[in-house]
């Protein structure tokens, strides 16, 4: 159950990232999570609701994109995608595949933010 630690890191990183836009509110946080990252989405969602309370991320949606495991198969000389994490063999030739290329990602891909109301008006006036 280290999802709470992970979510706390997300809140810290996002809060730092939006420092340039005072008063901005985060509407959505998009994550890229590899199938081998050892995190459970339900648990992330649950912790996210708690850890974001009273922060600029309060009420934001958490969108998790799960990425497959990709290995390099020396035998086929190609990157191959595994169907699951129960067998690390090339799905094409059946040879064991030990060279992991993707699948451990644990990243914040992007955030969607909404400017503070007064700043949004100011921006609109400038536009006019």
């Amino acid at each position: 159950m280290h999802e709470l630690s992970i979510v706390a890191s997300i809140v810290d990183s996002v809060t730092e990232s939006i420092a340039a836009w005072p008063g901005a509110r985060v509407v959505e946080v998009r994550l890229r999570v590899g199938a081998l990252a050892a995190v459970v989405e339900d648990s992330l969602q649950f912790c996210f609701g708690i850890a974001t309370e009273g922060t600029a991320l309060d009420g934001a949606r958490l969108v998790v994109k799960t990425l497959p495991v990709v290995m390099y198969c020396g035998h086929c000389a190609a990157e191959v995608q595994l169907a699951g994490v129960q067998s690390f063999r090339c799905p094409r030739c059946g040879e064991p595949a030990g060279d992991l290329r993707h699948g451990r990602e644990l990243e914040i891909e992007a955030i969607e933010i909404e400017d503070a109301p007064d700043r949004a008006e100011a921006a609109a006036e400038v536009m006019e």
Partner: protein, 217 residues
């Protein structure tokens, strides 16, 4: 209401990863081989490490250990009986060790005066796999009492390990341990991984393990 998308593309555990990178550079510069031992609670990490430390010290090697647990310093006291410098890290509820905890507990230790530093992680097969501690070798341990399918149930950890250690082989028969199945499952999750079959009690497999440590330096 207008919103906008800000691309971040950053690792969630960036701070831990940066600290771990710094630690790894420090360990390499000091010439100390650092290992991170990970398993379930009850696998016998401490008994295996006790034996390892005792054997290394008897051979004139300089070894130290950091040991992580939620509470108590019982393991540190057990390990310190080997004569090695040992420090306990109490995480008070956190289910894994992080690079910052390692960094804080190295104060005052002369790393260049060590050949080996063992980090015994908190007993847990899930969370420690996400946290780099700056180690060179990650060791996944599995005891004969746990079931041969443990690697299939916890692929994230076994796939990230550099070596696997099977413990308590002295009681394998009493547990009806299926050796071929266990070795096959480890190999299925981490093809080509080096596997040691050991008993801290009888010393089986320990020589081979010590040779591996020596070669890792």
């Amino acid at each position: 209401m207008t919103t906008r998308i800000v691309e971040l593309r950053q690792g969630i555990l960036k701070k831990n990863d940066e600290l771990a990178r710094g630690l790894r550079e420090r360990f390499t510069a000091a010439g100390v081989l650092v290992l991170n031992l990970v398993s379930s609670p009850g696998t016998g990490k401490t008994a295996f490490l006790e034996r390892t430390l005792r054997e290394l010290i008897a051979r004139g090697s300089r070894a130290a250990a950091l040991v992580g647990d939620l509470e108590t310093d019982n393991d540190a006291r057990r390990l310190a009986a080997s004569g090695a410098p040992v420090r306990q890290i109490n995480t008070h509820g956190i289910c894994h060790l992080e690079a910052e905890m390692i960094s804080k507990h190295l104060d005052g230790w002369d790393l260049a005066g060590l050949d080996y530093l063992f980090i015994e992680n908190v007993g847990n097969l899930v969370c420690p796999s996400s946290y780099d501690l700056g180690e060179k070798i990650r060791v996944a341990l599995l005891s004969v009492t746990e079931g041969e399918d443990k690697p299939l149930k916890y692929p994230t950890l076994f796939n990230s390990a550099d070596a696997a250690v099977i413990t308590k082989i002295d009681i394998a028969e009493a547990c009806s341990f299926n050796r071929e199945l266990a070795l096959g499952n480890i190999g299925e999750i981490r093809p080509g991984i080096r596997i040691f079959e050991t008993s801290a009690k009888t010393g089986a497999g320990i020589e081979e393990w010590l040779d591996y440590l020596k070669a890792g330096r």
